[in-house]
């Protein structure tokens, strides 16, 4: 039996769902794959727990019950303040799981954590897009020279293995990738069409349901979708820069626009597109004919069309959702555990 030690940095929606999923499934995983996944450290923004021998199932589930920013309140093994070096000094994790929030101005705290982990010899799995969007080359190079893996399939259509599939299409010349990549704005647009809410009402409902953030600007201004296009562009080997992506804001869509579109047999969608031949990318408001595939992708679903020189594929699935995303992160961890030399 191979034992793998994991450190989880970021303990919000995805972090908790990851730890919980692992607590519930790791016994089955060890029977199925012969790997024992131990969580040796967890950190949020205010504190951390470190247990070099690995937390047991009960402790992991109990940790998921601490309040927000409350890891330091978890009696045993917990302390106030975050010091990633201390995690590495005390518990020497083999895999670093980075689940901190995305900051597109600096890439922090993700970038520093990821590079630190690689330097200390840990493979990295991240759901945080920002470090990749800003420093993809640096991170991949850092991993390559150390023969470590960096996995990030939860960063695009996080509830699905979309990126894994895309990166496996190695013989293809990918010409175009386009679709609905942001769940929050797609939900808002669906509400506007189905329940005839105006943008503000639909946004408020999305916030009430926890689909949109208190500050929804990354989604609404198209930043999140653009960041995903950047990661896609790296995966297919045609890198583009986020600042070169043309973006429109969904906030400008009125209920009248929706009604007009519907009258003409269309629906309004927020479409992210990367044209890998022309090397241009955009996140735009588009009128899509009602019988088009994208018109059927509603609510928090995501849908992408991949066009290559050989084929055309559609991929539909949940874009996010903490449990789905946690599974994608866990799939990355399992893959690293199975393949890694750790």
């Amino acid at each position: 039996m191979k034992s793998i030690n994991v450190a989880v940095v970021g303990f919000g929606n995805v972090g908790r769902a990851f730890v919980k999923t692992l607590a519930l499934k790791r016994k089955t995983l060890s029977e199925k794959y012969g790997i024992n996944i131990n969580v040796v450290a967890i950190a949020d923004s205010k504190g951390m727990v470190i247990k070099p021998s690995g937390l047991d199932d009960y402790e992991m589930l109990k940790l998921c019950e601490v309040p927000k920013s409350g890891i330091h309140m978890f009696g045993s093994y917990a302390k106030q303040g975050v010091d990633i070096a201390e995690i590495y000094d005390k518990a020497a994790p083999n895999i670093h799981v980075e689940l901190t929030p995305a900051n597109y101005a600096t890439g922090e705290p993700g970038y520093t954590n990821i590079v630190f982990a690689l330097k200390r010899g840990a493979h990295v799995v991240t759901a945080n897009k920002a470090p990749l969007v800003l420093y993809y080359r640096e991170i991949v190079e850092e991993a390559r020279i150390r023969r470590l893996m960096i996995k990030f399939r939860a960063t695009v259509m996080g509830g699905t293995p979309f990126l894994e599939m895309l990166s496996s299409m190695k013989s293809h010349d990918i010409e175009k990738v386009e679709g609905i990549l942001n769940a929050t704005t797609n939900y808002i647009l669906t509400e506007m069409h189905e329940n005839l809410l105006d943008f503000e009402q639909a946004l408020r409902k999305a916030q009430a349901l926890g689909i949109a953030e208190a500050d929804p600007s990354l989604d609404i201004e198209g930043f999140d979708a653009a960041a995903k296009l950047v990661i896609i562009s790296y995966v297919i080997g045609k890198p583009i820069n986020i600042s070169s992506i043309y973006r429109e804001s969904v906030a400008q869509i009125s209920l009248k626009d929706v009604l007009d579109a519907v009258k003409q047999g269309h629906v309004i969608k927020y479409v992210a597109a990367l044209d890998a031949q022309k090397m241009v990318a955009s996140v735009k408001i588009e009128k899509v004919p009602r019988d088009n595939v994208f018109a059927q992708i509603n609510g928090t679903l995501n849908g992408v069309r991949i066009k290559s020189d050989a084929t055309e594929l559609f991929f539909i699935g949940r874009g996010g959702g903490r449990i789905e995303t946690a599974h994608t992160v866990l799939d990355d961890v399992i893959e690293v555990a199975l393949r890694g030399s750790a």
């Binding site: 016994k27 199932d57 009960y58 309040p67 349901l209």
Partner: protein
């Protein structure tokens, strides 16, 4: 498959949960089960009065939100730990955000979401109370486990999907040996929208979990020692019914019996015939079985319904529709001179319905209760 012979389900009704003391009291009683080598799955309702208050919150009442806030933060504070207090505040913060966003009119899905906080917070408090009395406990999340259709306000459980979820966690429950606590009354659709199961929905959650995991015993705890032969506010001599069948319980529920939710028997009929114990922490006076032995047949409960066009009395029990019992009832009525407007029985139904003149239902009820339940042999 792990050994689940020591698992059972206990539903703690909201009428019992008034203050921090009552959470501790419930926890101590659960502890007795644990000390008896049982591992109960706790299904918890919202604290007393909270569900109704949350319905007002869903209509936009700020005052009602403050009431919920006060009740739950006070219980959390009294239970002691900073951690749980902060946790309850986090939940209330989310509730507040949702409540303030509903100004745009009635939306059944948001109403369910708002109401669900009654159970969500109550669960956190119950887990804390258990830990306080020294019982290892863990939260389960009904919105991840109990899958329902999308009839907001009165959803029905999707048994197959729910069974799949429950099967996945049951081994962990057994292996951590921690008492799991789950919210009653709430669930979620396949695509994650929060739903509620209608009045009495916590019983339905409890029996569904028991039936789907094939557990033998379900305890429904309220403040009364069991089901009574009649409404004690009318008939002070009403006594506890010791054994009933599912059919009798459902028939009683159909005629409006309190404390029995007809939906709760569906999973038991369909999947596994768990025994349902109804009562208080002091005494689980009533046992409800799928099939009752012959000697337990006969009248169980008598009740009246006035809201009907023509008031009626219902006598419920397997075997009451046989001719000798009907004759007994007819004799009682005949001798007392009660004016009867109609009498209805079917051999396949465990009941006799006696329609009486408006105004005479209470006296007839008392008479029949005395003759049938008090003057036996």
């Amino acid at each position: 498959m792990s050994d689940r012979s020591n698992l059972c389900v206990i539903k703690v009704g909201g009428s019992l949960l008034k203050d921090s003391g009552s959470y501790i009291e419930a926890a101590k009683n659960v502890k007795r089960f644990v000390e008896n080598n049982q591992l109960p799955i706790i299904v918890v309702s919202a604290a007393k009065g909270i569900t109704d208050t949350l319905l007002e919150v869903a209509k936009g009442s700020v005052e009602s939100f403050n009431k919920v806030f006060d009740v739950y933060t006070e219980i959390a504070r009294e239970l002691g730990s900073q951690r749980v207090f902060k946790r309850v505040l986090d939940e209330l913060e989310i509730l507040k955000r949702i409540a303030y966003s509903v100004s745009g009119g009635y939306d059944p899905s948001l109403q369910d979401l708002i109401v669900s906080f009654g159970e969500r917070i109550s669960k956190i408090l119950m887990v804390e109370a258990l830990e306080v009395v020294g019982v290892r406990a863990l939260e389960l999340n009904a919105r991840e486990l109990i899958v329902t259709n999308d009839v907001h306000g009165d959803a029905t459980i999707d048994y197959i999907a729910t069974a799949n979820h429950l099967e996945k966690i049951v081994n962990s429950i057994v292996s951590t040996a921690a008492v799991p606590v789950i919210e009653g009354f709430i669930g979620a659709t396949e695509d994650g929208r929060t739903t509620t199961l209608g009045r009495g929905g916590s019983d339905y959650t409890a029996t569904s979990i028991a039936a789907l995991l094939k557990l033998n015993d379900v305890y429904l705890v309220t403040e009364v020692d069991g089901i009574l032969t009649a409404d004690p506010s009318i008939i002070s001599t009403a006594r506890i019914v010791k054994v009933m069948s599912y059919a009798e319980a459902m028939e009683a529920a159909m005629h409006g019996a309190k404390r029995i939710n007809p939906k709760a028997f569906e999973p038991l009929e369909k999947f596994y015939s768990s025994t349902v114990y109804i009562g208080s922490w002091r005494l689980f006076g009533t046992k409800i079985l799928q099939v009752i032995p012959g000697e337990c047949k006969g009248p169980k409960v008598i009740m009246h319904k006035t809201s009907h066009e023509m008031p009626y009395i219902a006598i419920i029990g397997e075997g009451v529709a046989n001719v000798s019992f009907i004759k007994k009832v007819v004799d009682i009525i005949y001798e007392s001179g009660v004016e009867v407007m109609g009498l209805q029985t079917y051999y396949y139904r465990p009941s006799i319905i006696i329609h009486v003149k408006r105004g005479s239902e209470i006296s007839t009820l008392k008479l029949l209760h005395r003759k049938i339940f008090e003057e036996v042999e």
